[in-house]
């Protein structure tokens, strides 16, 4: 009988303690951040989608189109398009396509990039109704006003032009003996057939 009464009293006490705690919480200020009206604090290391970083000296990106990011991506989200322009050392980046729908923000691309051309951005406000909006061209995003043409090095251009000329002459010289050689060989085989 005393156990019965004791049960009831401890039970009731625990219930009252619970009510006291919720009462205290009711009287404290809420901690909600009213999101659209107040903005969220972003940390500098936050991993948004990657972006081409602007080099302060040259005013453009540092990408050398080696493709290590493309090879290192587990999901195949990156496509690097480049072409060779006359007078410019190395290849020129024409488009850097990131398919953000398959990106898992692992950071392999950022780590593998030797010239540190890409880094994480701070964007979290990406909402859209179409899948195509998530296929970013990072070069366009870096230079929305228009991609600047790369500097043409005049000496390099002269050397390339000279190389081209030299290669053309070699090609022309090779063609003439090549024309004779097949004729000779054809004659030799015919001679063999005859004999």
């Amino acid at each position: 009988m005393s156990g019965y009464i004791k049960d009831i009293i401890t039970g009731l006490k625990s219930l009252v303690v619970g009510l006291q705690i919720t009462n205290k919480e009711f009287l404290t200020k809420p901690i909600t951040l009213q999101y659209p009206h107040q903005s969220v604090k972003m940390y500098p290391r936050y991993r948004g989608h990657i972006e081409l970083l602007k080099d302060t000296e040259t005013g453009t990106h540092r990408c050398i189109t080696c493709g290590m990011c493309e090879k290192g991506c587990p999901s195949g989200s990156i496509t690097v398009k480049s072409e060779k322009r006359p007078g410019v050392k190395g290849k020129v980046l024409t488009a850097y396509i990131l398919n953000f729908t398959t990106c898992s923000l692992c950071g392999q691309c950022v780590e593998n990039c030797k010239p540190e051309a890409i880094g994480f951005s701070n964007e979290y406000n990406l909402a859209s109704t179409r899948r195509e909006d998530y296929i970013f061209d990072l070069l366009q995003r870096l230079h929305p006003e228009g991609v600047p043409e790369p500097e043409v090095d005049p000496e390099l251009l002269k050397k390339e032009l000279e190389k081209k000329e030299a290669a053309k002459k070699e090609g022309a010289a090779k063609k003439e003996p090549a024309k004779k050689a097949p004729a000779k060989e054809g004659g030799a085989s015919k001679a063999e057939e005859k004999s």
């Binding site: 619970g18 009462n23 919480e25 009711f26």
Partner: protein
């Protein structure tokens, strides 16, 4: 003619009171839940979220009323109406002020309990008529809960009837004197266990209105949403409104029987404002309790009633009878 005008005025007044309450008790609950949980409740729709019930009502009314294929059509469609009608009907007998009663019945208390039982039946009808195993289980649980908790409620009410000698609700309030130590909850000269009686009645109201921690019928995490799983749109809206209407009835009954109804605690200005203050304080207690405790098990619920509440109320009944006879 006068009587007709009076009745019409009361009906309009009650309709307004009821409508406002049913809509805005939801707001009170959500705001209370928010602040208890360290967040704000609804905030954007109107100042302090006050237009939220309007938005909710519009949303519910604009939804398509789907009737599941293997539901029992008459039962399915009757249940929300059947649960709403008794709750609304009972407001006729509640004394808001000394002369502010729509109609004084001299069997007011019995009428309350009779109509409250119909509410329990309609839960079962809703659960059965949905044609869903989950709803059926929930409906049967709700009925057995309702039956188990009506008994201590009735026994405790008999206490009050014995003390007062009448079942008229206004008479019960009049007999409790003006000052708060003369209210029934503190009247230890009638029975030493009167506060315990009040507690028993309060717990039974919690269980009768299907509120946490006794809400096994409705918002189960286990069985999706209980007896109103299959209801959408305004059918669901009616169930929610009926729950709040039952809540108001339960709290008003507790106020009338134990806390002195429209009496003022210091004998100054009795009136309907005191009734409303006490009723809303009890409603706030219901909301507070809901957001603090988890749900009991079904067996725990029945144990509480049959092994704890009923013995207590019976003992109290005997004690009250003894005290009345002797003193």
């Amino acid at each position: 003619m006068n009587e007709l005008i009076r009745l019409l005025a009361y009906m309009l007044g009650l309709a307004a009171f009821l409508g406002l309450n049913l809509a805005y008790l939801g707001w009170v609950e959500r705001k209370g839940a928010g602040h208890i949980q360290r967040r704000t409740g609804p905030k954007d729709v109107g100042p302090y979220g006050l237009l939220q019930p309007l938005a909710d009502g519009l949303k519910l009314m604009s939804k398509q009323l789907l009737i599941p294929a293997n539901a029992d059509r008459p039962l399915y469609m009757c249940a929300p109406i059947l649960i709403m009608v008794p709750a609304v009907l009972l407001f006729v007998a509640i004394p808001f002020g000394e002369h502010l009663v729509p109609r004084e019945f001299n069997f007011g208390l019995i009428m309350m309990f009779a109509f409250a039982s119909v509410g329990g039946l309609s839960i079962l009808i809703g659960g059965w008529g949905s044609g869903n195993k989950y709803s059926l289980i929930a409906g049967t649980r709700a009925v057995s809960q309702n039956v188990a908790y009506e008994i201590p409620m009735l026994i405790t009410a008999i206490n009050i009837v014995m003390i007062t000698g009448s079942m008229d609700l206004n008479e019960i309030v009049r007999q409790q004197g003006s000052y708060f130590w003369q209210w029934n909850v503190f009247r230890l000269d009638k029975s030493i266990l009167m506060p315990v009686s009040f507690l028993v009645f309060f717990i039974c109201s919690l269980a009768e209105t299907n509120r946490t921690p006794f809400d096994l019928g409705e918002c189960e995490g286990e069985l999706v949403a209980g007896y109103h799983t299959e209801y959408g749109g305004m059918g669901f809206g009616l169930f929610m409104m009926a729950e709040y209407a039952n809540l108001v009835i339960g709290c008003s009954l507790t106020t009338i029987l134990f806390l002195g109804g429209w009496q003022c605690p210091f004998g100054l200005f009795p009136g309907p404002h005191w009734f409303l203050i006490k009723m809303y304080f009890l409603i706030w207690c219901f909301v507070w309790i809901r957001w603090t405790y988890p749900r009991t098990t079904f067996w725990g619920l029945l144990n509480l009633s049959w092994k704890y509440l009923i013995p207590f109320s019976l003992v109290n009944l005997l004690l009250t009878a003894l005290f009345i006879k002797v003193f």
